[in-house]
Symmetry: C2
Subunit: 142 residues, 2 copies
């Protein structure tokens, strides 16, 4: 059960190539791992899981950064405040993270423009963007 619909392999390859990056088996392995679990992984977890497949940690770091830059990976916060990476679609969105099963689902259609205008008028701050993360219980855990 995935957070997002399976991403065509060709699309991802194209996105990599567009930036001069190559879509290698190692990078595909990292992506497939994220796609396999909507709860996401910390970097340490990814290296641990992929170690048997002989994928070096340098590659893990590089790939996670690349996927982030392409918008296919976003981070959410753990209870302890550390970052966990989660598969996502490119573009701005918010994340809903389950307190129990840690599943994260992406939410793209929430509008904060009213709030941003309110802040602008109250504080004089010119808001350009935001990061918003929700936590609670997913339907299955409720």
């Amino acid at each position: 059960m995935n957070t997002i619909d399976a991403l065509p392999k060709a699309e991802l390859r194209q996105q990599f190539n567009k930036t001069g990056l190559r879509f290698t088996p190692q990078r595909e392995a990292v992506w497939r791992l994220f796609e396999s679990d909507p709860a996401g992984f910390t970097i340490a977890q990814v290296t641990a899981v992929l170690a048997p497949q002989k994928i070096g940690q340098a590659t893990v770091y590089r790939t996670i950064r690349a996927l982030q830059d392409l918008g296919y990976l976003k981070w959410v916060h753990d209870r302890s405040g550390e970052h966990r990476f989660v598969a996502s679609r490119p573009g701005h969105s918010h994340m809903l993270v389950c307190r129990l099963c840690s599943k994260a689902v992406e939410c793209s259609d929430c509008d904060l423009s009213v709030l941003e205008k309110l802040i602008a008028s109250q504080t004089g701050f010119a808001v350009e963007g935001h990061h918003l993360e929700f936590f609670g219980l997913c339907p299955e855990c409720s």
Copy 2:
């Protein structure tokens, strides 16, 4: 120019003591540093600044965690995604972070309940809380 009004030293001491913690000169020094600059600091910056005062990095780590637990320190993200700590008042709030001068101001009175209800009805997620961070330009940098 501080983000927040100066916090009475006695209040902070009391908050520490209430939890069985002691308000030491080292802890006060760390707090004063955060209070002195609304842009906040990364852990590395704090240790660098306080090194001449012979404050060990272990103490810095311990104190930052304690201040966080008491609610007097919150983190924001800088461009690279790393955490910077900023003085704050206990309780839930949002942060407005300036893209240019990095100043962070706390914003306590924004209501997301409407949005949370919308999410609940759209996704079945029972929202319990959130983390919201704005970025843009402060009045001085606009």
